[in-house]
């Protein structure tokens, strides 16, 4: 009987110690090359969709890639954006005045941090024609730290430095 108790306990211990899908284990679990490649593809896919949202001037969709949480941090040219709401409002206002937009990335590099987090850097180029026919262009570099929450990769931290050129 003692053996049965021992066996049952060991079995339950093993089952209960499996990592939860919702919460990353406190200790870093081992990342395989396969994991890293998969995560890299996933976050680059998210960046591609985010880029398309800008090209379609879909402000709501673009804002939705950023995590809507008090944890979210956004730095633009050394200034902290106060909140997700402020960022979403800024994107919305921007596209309400734009007639067309072209956004793209180059030299993207992904650093996989854990099974549920990664950082991407890249150079971005942005061009837009405003409704008043004025042209706007900017180029710069960004760091995006992604965290996977509820099976979705979200921008948890965003930092961009750019130069704007009013044409």
């Amino acid at each position: 009987m003692m053996f049965k108790i021992f066996f049952t306990s060991i079995l339950l211990f093993i089952i209960s110690c499996q990592p939860s899908s919702k919460q990353e284990p406190a200790a870093q679990s081992k990342l395989t090359t396969k994991d890293s490649l998969k995560i890299t593809q996933e976050v680059l896919g998210v960046v591609n969709d985010y880029t398309q949202a800008h090209n379609n001037m879909d402000a709501a969709k673009a804002a939705d890639y950023f995590v809507n949480s008090p944890e979210f941090v956004c730095v633009e040219n050394a200034e902290l954006d106060p909140s997700w709401d402020a960022l979403a409002k800024m994107i919305k206002n921007w596209y309400s005045n734009a007639a067309s937009a072209k956004f793209g990335w180059e030299n993207e590099k992904v650093l996989v941090l854990s099974k549920n987090s990664a950082a991407m850097t890249g150079k971005f180029n942005f061009e837009a024609t405003l409704k008043n026919k004025k042209k706007y262009a900017s180029t710069g570099h960004a760091t995006i730290v992604f965290v996977k929450q509820n099976d979705q990769w979200k921008f948890y931290h965003y930092h961009e430095s750019y130069k704007a050129v009013n044409k």
Partner: protein
């Protein structure tokens, strides 16, 4: 006897799964304290222009990426080289941290956002002032030390406030 088996199994289940999945507030506080301390050490190394100390605080790996205020993308060696060259031009460098925000990703990964002011005095006598510089430090805990694995800085161009010695 079945009841005993059930109770023992339940106790093992509860004991084994509860604390391992999520960091406790105490653990979070400890991580924030450690990361804050690492950031203070980095700024101290910058102010004393101690290149050896500075180099030790960043992770020497091919995965490291640094983005400088001028938009340059640097690997570890390039960043250390640029730091050496820049410190070589200055006679004094002062910083004043306005805000540090630490976010914990896992027990071994954290992000520190630092907003600070800076003043660099060149050996030529020129003095440059930055009203605000934003820094993102992605840190990883390796061998019980927090090291910067990714870094980006941004700022508006500095104001030159003096040009003579």
């Amino acid at each position: 006897m079945k009841t005993k088996i059930f109770i023992v199994a339940l106790l093992v289940f509860l004991a084994s799964c509860t604390p391992k999945q999520e960091l406790t507030q105490q653990e979070k506080d400890q991580i924030k304290k450690e990361v804050n301390s690492s950031i203070q050490t980095i700024f101290s190394a910058w102010q004393t222009m101690d290149i050896n100390k500075n180099s030790h605080l960043f992770l020497n790996t091919s995965e490291f990426t640094g983005i400088g205020v001028d938009g340059s993308i640097l690997n570890y060696d390039e960043m250390i080289k640029m730091s050496k060259e820049t410190f070589g031009l200055w006679s004094e460098f002062k910083t004043s941290i306005v805000k540090i925000d630490v976010k914990i990703i896992t027990s071994e990964i954290a992000i520190a956002t630092v907003i600070y002011r800076a003043e660099a005095k060149y050996k030529t006598g020129q003095v440059d002032n930055w009203d605000s510089i934003g820094s993102t430090f992605v840190l990883k805990k390796i061998n019980n030390e927090w090291k910067v694995i990714h870094f980006q800085e941004s700022s508006m161009p500095p104001k030159t406030v003096a040009t003579k010695k």
